[in-house]
Symmetry: D2
Subunit: 303 residues, 4 copies
């Protein structure tokens, strides 16, 4: 059981570890020599290489090549390089977050080159190493059959936590929607805990409340488990900035809602709250102040 893992970062590294633990031989590539050495030092059955070309050259065919790279140019370049290195019967899996339409294009481009392509949505974050990853796959039956043995090692159990969702694109589409839901759930919790915190006269303990909700309540969930753990350590969050990044999937979900004409007020509301947390609404808010002054003579709040 041989698999190439291209990209050994936070996600790819742990996936390599889980595959190695399961008995697979992993041919790993990462741009960082330190990362490569770390992985190959941990597991005898993780072999690392200093280039994609060397990684592929070292593997016997037919090959399964799993990419865990940032979407965008790095991913595009690597796919182009792989087209020149691989041959009929090989499968490329893109396990990073990517826009499903890009994955559909990638699938078509690889098919033209005689290669198979699978888009894999992978959920589980830093806990996937221990708990297993949920894996949502798009591709042909034949291609999925080739990656299935590895997916069974990555998922929480051989028969649970992975799904062949549909044709190429279906894996990343399903993952995109998953993350859209995640945005909405996270924001729902954020709003609720903010309401608990703001009700000062009741002196509610947000950490204790998060904990009690874990047992028997309707909102019990893995996100709540993590929230309770974190709040138990620091319930004031006094060191943090109210500044929330977003990494693409939430945006793609909203774009899709517009394209399909399906209203997603909660997912969009969650995304916009993050945009606003980063000051992206500042000009609009200044304009509102100015308008209030213009029609009502309301005092201005200046810097």
């Amino acid at each position: 059981m041989n698999i190439a893992m291209i990209g050994l970062g936070k996600m790819g590294g742990n996936m390599a570890r889980r595959l190695a633990r399961g008995g697979a031989t992993v041919f790993g590539f990462d741009v960082s020599a330190a990362t490569r050495d770390q992985l190959s030092g941990e597991f005898a059955n993780i072999r690392t290489f200093a280039s994609v070309a060397e990684t592929i050259a070292a593997m016997p065919a037919p090959r399964v090549v799993w990419m865990m790279l940032p979407h965008g140019q790095i991913s595009e370049n690597t796919l182009t390089e792989l087209k020149g290195l691989l041959g009929a019967g090989d499968v490329v899996v893109d396990g990073a977050n990517a826009l499903y339409k890009e994955s559909q294009r990638h699938g078509a481009e690889l098919a033209e080159a005689g290669l198979e392509f699978v888009d894999a949505g992978v959920s589980g974050g830093v806990w996937g190493l221990a708990n297993g990853y949920t894996i949502m796959l798009g591709g042909s039956k034949e291609a999925i059959a080739k990656v299935q043995p590895f997916v069974e090692l990555l998922a929480p159990a051989a028969d649970r936590g992975w799904l062949h969702c549909g044709p190429v694109g279906a894996g990343h589409y399903t993952k995109m929607v998953h993350n859209g839901i995640e945005y909405g759930m996270m924001q729902a919790f954020a709003e609720g805990f903010a309401l608990l915190k703001a009700k000062e006269e009741l002196e509610l303990d947000v950490a204790e409340i998060a904990e009690v909700w874990r047992h028997g309540s309707v909102v019990r969930s893995w996100l709540l488990d993590l929230t309770a753990d974190s709040l138990a350590k620091d319930k004031e969050l006094g060191e943090l900035q109210p500044f929330v990044p977003d990494s693409g999937e939430g945006r793609w979900t909203v774009l899709e809602s517009v394209e399909l004409g399906v209203p997603t007020p909660v997912i969009a509301g969650a995304l916009y709250a993050r945009f606003a947390s980063r000051g992206n609404d500042d000009y609009g808010m200044k304009l509102l102040q100015m308008m209030r002054n213009a029609f009502g003579g309301h005092a201005l709040t200046k810097k």
Copy 2:
């Protein structure tokens, strides 16, 4: 261990059963004779009575009287009646959903009458009988101490799933926020599954996707467990109307957000989606059509 349970409906009946199983003697009242007979037939230690007065009269003091009644007039009348029946050292628990401000008023009124009051937010739905209920309590330490033995039977375990949140009102406030979060989570799932369903060309199986997300994904949760079970039985939902009631807690959460000045776009968005599902935005939408016709000459869609 004696406790009165006033109201033996969907929630109160199951809570009586769970208390009886745990060894408590339950003095139960319900307006429905059939409901009373059902409960007293099931458990020797559930005794039922045809009036609140008879129920209280049969109990030895000091008494814990747990109300599970619809909020509003029935609940108000029963509290008034209980003031006349109970004496010093007795505790009334309101375990139904109620606006925390009303509970604070009830607490003050009972205190004037020399009685103690506890507001209890109870979560767990129809599954609480088997799994236990999350219980969020507001009241004095003394009052909570009196209800604790019963709460320990109702919760998933004696030391888990219940919390003394704060003074009177804190239980129902915490439950209100819990339900607000629930609204947001439910809507997040609804939007996500709608996006899966609408992407017709990918022919995604929403039931299989719900199931796979239960294993290792970030959105795993009890609501997802229930959703997966339901979709496994019927994934088209073809018999249902797109008509979603709301029962007060979501509204109260939004009112509170306005009062506190804390933005809750996701919870409000979830509530408004339910309002719209019931046609409550029809006049506004007709007006939009009319406006489009007036400025742009766009054709009208008539009945």
Copy 3:
């Protein structure tokens, strides 16, 4: 034509001026001696007094007493005082912004005291002196008939810009909805201009665009006129904080939407944007950061 004006601030002062210009004799009260002297110095037919009691004592009956006071305690106290000073046939008008339910209570209280009450929603801001005020009235036909001569002076023209909307409460309800719409319109402009500003590569001139939209476009409006004037003077708004107050009417509109079950996503969205501009979502946003770190290992942005 005699009228008392209780409160001579930004709104009340200009309304007194417009009434005096129209030929009415105004009996004015304000807590500020400087304000009183200013008004009585400007117009021979504005007489000012150092207390409400003196104001009323100086007026011949039957009296029309128009209050322009901040809603809340000052307004409540003045109504109580007026009940003791006025007599049958006198009318009290509350022309300030007030929750219509409070106005309905005030109307009932004054009716018990044999007095008439009119709630008047007044729109027009600092421009009302020159342009006239839109006035929305709630009250009995008899009461409205008594205030009509004054309302005709305040409105843009005797037969335009004022309306007897319905019974007591109808004036403030209509004004509340007016302001809710205003919140939505203002936010729509704020979002649009923010999108223009953010599209840096097109180097759009927001001031010129605001001006061109005033001529023939679908969004032409008085708010746009004011916006264009302000942007012509300062299109960067660099001195302003992105910090937007709200003064009650927007909140009341959202509360009413919840009570009526009518979805108002745009009005609520506009209100919440203001809440967020003031940092009221900070705790929630910190929690989101913390959650992202907990499940995905994403780096924290600290202070």
Copy 4:
């Protein structure tokens, strides 16, 4: 002064009329012979032709060719055809709604063919014939100079109501944002009038209220003028379906907000309200019903 008008529909036809009235000679094309005959019958200086090729052949160079066609394939095909018919110094204006990115691509394609391109956002609807159109232009100074004489006839006045916003794309971008604002304003009015209508006990007259707001209020606007006129004729809107189409610009605005990271909760909320009015949230709402039943045993509303 010669200009070609390609597309003589609701917008293009009236623009041809306004140009002809202003003294321009219009070379008009439309697929409909009836439309062509109508226009050429009305004005001696509107000449119509049965094909784009004939239209262009009849015009002396240098030419200004103004397209008013539905965006998408028809527009693309016509641009391709025009590339073959026009020569150096000719300008093509796209005056229909189009995604600014498409217009930027069109500009680049025409530039390669040695032609100039102007994207023109045109606002004013069916009222533009009488009142003039707001026109927002993107293109080079040279190209704008060539279309300026015609734009001055189309705008409300020669020096008002038109703007050279920036390079190619800037006209359609500005128009897109204009329409996004329009969506938000329309929804704000729709929500407000729905709140007036829903408050049944006050028996408010929405037509009279719309009319009074036109005089002196903060929300006075052209959209309100139209609304008041329409409600004066029919305030119940009983014949209309609560079904609101959308025609692209609102969607593009939301897509842009996501791309730029600028929150637009009001514009997105307005768009989503339209989506929901068409039943596009039905599956999600059914799912919510099902979930409520699953956790709380709430009764289902079936067809």
